[in-house]
Every structure is written in C-alpha cells, then in structure tokens.
C-alpha cells in the first residue's frame, strides 16, 4: 500500500474531533500530505487549514500544485516566511504570522479560518500542524505542550480533525511525548514502505 493510501485509510477510520500524530521522514513528507488532502479531505469535501512553520507556504503550494492536488479548499497559516525572508509577496488563501513564537496567533488564525469558512457551507475541517519539530526550534517544550493542549481542545470542540507532523529526522523523545499526550493515535510512516 502506498503511503498516501495508508494515511488516508488511517484518517477514514478515526471519528470526527480526532487528533492524529504522524511521524514521517523527509522522503515520505509529500506522500503524507497527498494522503491527507487527496485521499481524505478532498474526497470528503472538507476544508483544510495547513499551518506551516517548516517551509514557507509558497514552495509547499507550488509542490502540491505540481502533484495536481486540488487546493481550492486549502488555507495556509504561514508562520515562517517572515522569519526566513521578511515580508514578501503574499499569496491568496495564506495568512501570515510574524514569528513561530507567536503561538497564540496560530490558534487565533486557525480559529479565524474555521469561522470564516464555516459561515456559508457546513463543511468539516481538518487542521494540519507542520511540524512540531520546527516549532520546537523556536519555542520551549513547556509552552509548546500548553499550545498543543489549547489548540487541540479547541479543535475537538469544533469537531475538527487535527494532524500533527513529527519529522523523524529531527525528533526527540521529549517531543514525541508531548505530541503523544494530545493525540488519540500516532501513525509512523516507515521509509521502507515507499514504493
């Protein structure tokens, strides 16, 4: 089974309001995203809120477009562009946060997008947090753990799915623990499984 199929299938089996941790390596990174977007969210007509602190939204957008993934209902919260390149060209469907240390603003922008996309159509939501490791470069574990709690509790209350990325190459036991603490399940995508 491909990584994308496996990720899609995993989410299919989880009820609304679930929180899933996905441990992925760089090799399988885009397969995981494809699995969430194509095999799960787009297939079900959901809105996707993609929080990125790893790579700016623009390159991710471009890469996903190359893979022919439909991004009509995908919105980005980009908390790394400003830090890496200063304020530049702004994309449509992307909200920018000045710094990945403004964790409260991440929660507020996610809430904003959920409310904003909820008013016309009652579409289900999925929020992707990419990644806990890049947030950990800029924040201490204590505040990160508190952040995950507030974020996931709020999203559960709204019946949204949450997916938290852990990058295998940059992981630590401490980080995996704080993620596991808020997750209903953790899926490890093994490199060996790539076709």
């Amino acid at each position: 089974m491909t990584v994308a199929l496996k990720v899609g299938e995993k989410l299919e089996k989880m009820p609304e309001a679930s929180v899933l941790g996905i441990k992925t390596s760089i090799n399988t990174y885009f397969d995981v995203i494809q699995g969430i977007l194509d095999n799960f969210a787009n297939a079900r007509g959901m809105d996707v809120i993609y929080v990125t602190s790893t790579v700016p939204a623009t390159p991710i957008l471009n890469a996903l477009k190359m893979l022919d993934i439909d991004l009509t209902n995908t919105y980005f919260v980009d908390c790394i562009s400003n830090v890496l390149m200063g304020r530049g060209e702004e994309e449509e469907n992307v909200l920018y946060i000045e710094s990945p240390t403004m964790l409260e603003m991440i929660i507020l922008k996610v809430e904003y997008l959920i409310k904003k996309t909820s008013r016309h159509a009652e579409r289900k939501k999925i929020v992707i947090l990419d990644s806990i490791n890049s947030l950990a470069i800029h924040n201490n574990t204590k505040i990160l753990s508190e952040f995950l709690h507030v974020l996931t509790n709020g999203l559960r209350a709204k019946d949204a799915y949450t997916v938290i990325f852990m990058l295998a190459e940059h992981s630590s036991e401490e980080l995996e623990n704080i993620v596991a603490f808020v997750c209903d399940d953790v899926l490890a995508v093994e490199v060996e499984e790539v076709e």
Partner: protein
Amino acid sequence: MVDHTYRKKRERCVTGIEGLDNILNGGIPRDNIILITGSCGTGKTTISLEFLIHGALMGEKSMFISVTEATSKLLKNAIPYEFFDERLIEEGMLTFIDMPALYEKLGLEKPEFTFEDIDVLVEAIGNIVKELGIKRLVIDSITSVCYRLKTEEKIRSFILRLGKLLSELGCTTILVSEISPMEQRYSMYGVEEAIADGIILLSNMERSGDMLRTLQVIKMRGTQHSRAKYVLDLTDIGVLLVPMLKGVGGG
C-alpha cells in the same frame, strides 16, 4: 458552599464578542457603566464599535458618541466588519453623534466646564438616550471629556451622575479611557476607574521581540470573571481571543 445571593443571575448585556462573553460569564451585567482602557492603537474603538454593532443586530438600539474623531471619518475607516450593515444606521438601530456638535448645540464650547455645565451635558445625553431608546452607549473617549472637567470633583460628579441616569434608563455604557503605555493607573485621572462598575484593560505587550495585543478584565461588578490575560486579534469577523500561554518553568 455556593453563595446564592452573589450568584443570583444579573441580566447580561451580551457583547457578541464570543471570547469576551465567555470571560464575563455571559456578558456585561446590564446597566453597568464600564471603562475600556488602554494606550493608543490597542483596539479600544474597534472593540467598542463591535459591541454596538452586535447590539444593534440583536435589536438593541445603540449609540456611539465620538469626542475626538469625526464620525464621518470613523465610519469610512473603522468599520471593516463583515457583519456590519449600513441599514443599521439607516433604520436608526445604530446612531453616531459628534460630541463637538453637541457641545455647540448646548453652548458648551469652552475649555473648562462648571458644575452647571455638567448638569446640562448629562441631561442632554440622558434625553437623547431616552428619546431614542438607546440600550448600549459608547463614549469615545471619556478622557477627552475629562480635559474640560479638569478637577477630580467634577470628573467624579460627571461620571456618577451620568452612570446613575443611564443605569436608570436601562442603558449599558462603555467609556473609552486613554492612557499612556507606561501608565500605572487605568485612567488618566484615577477617578474614572474608581467609579466605573468594570474595567477592561487593553495593552500592547512585547514578548521576546513579538508584539501582542492583550485584553484583561480587571474588575466587573455583578459577575464572576476571569482575570487572566488574553491575546487578541482584530479581524473582519470581529475580535478573537485566546488565553495567553504561560510557558512556565522554561523547557
């Protein structure tokens, strides 16, 4: 043990700002006269306007008395809200008044008011509120009115009399108070904060180089409330609030 006397439900003026209503256990206790205080650019005018628009949308007549800024300019720049509808103004649910115009009408164009002038002003505001059936009032800002009152006695007299009258008329009032960023008090003269039934403090806070807007309810008579600091975001769908993360203990 639950203290039932304290808990006895006081009717609420729902602000319509979800996060704030949660902090206040349902809203501002009705008929309260409260202070929204903070330095420049912290969101006082924006939040006060949102309070009025939600009120008007819920069928409560609302009024904004602008002391410093011309309301025409305010209307052009300051209402980016998606839920704002021009018809609220056309239908008289939302009224804007320029305080300078009121001063002029009352013959109060002078640098310092006497106690009689205060009587005249309070009565005039009361009459408008009564005639139009206003249930929510914002005065932006009380600090500018206080400039013309000068003494603590006059400020006390003005706010006490205004508060009593508006409360009797069933009107819930927000007084906008302007302070400098370093101010240790919640109001320019100290009197305003002592008399008000509630204080909501807005601040610009720096945290390791990041600028955050924060909101804190310092006091609110008639309800239990959180005193925690919240981070806020001003958006076109209104003010959004989240508790400030503490991150205690380092990591």
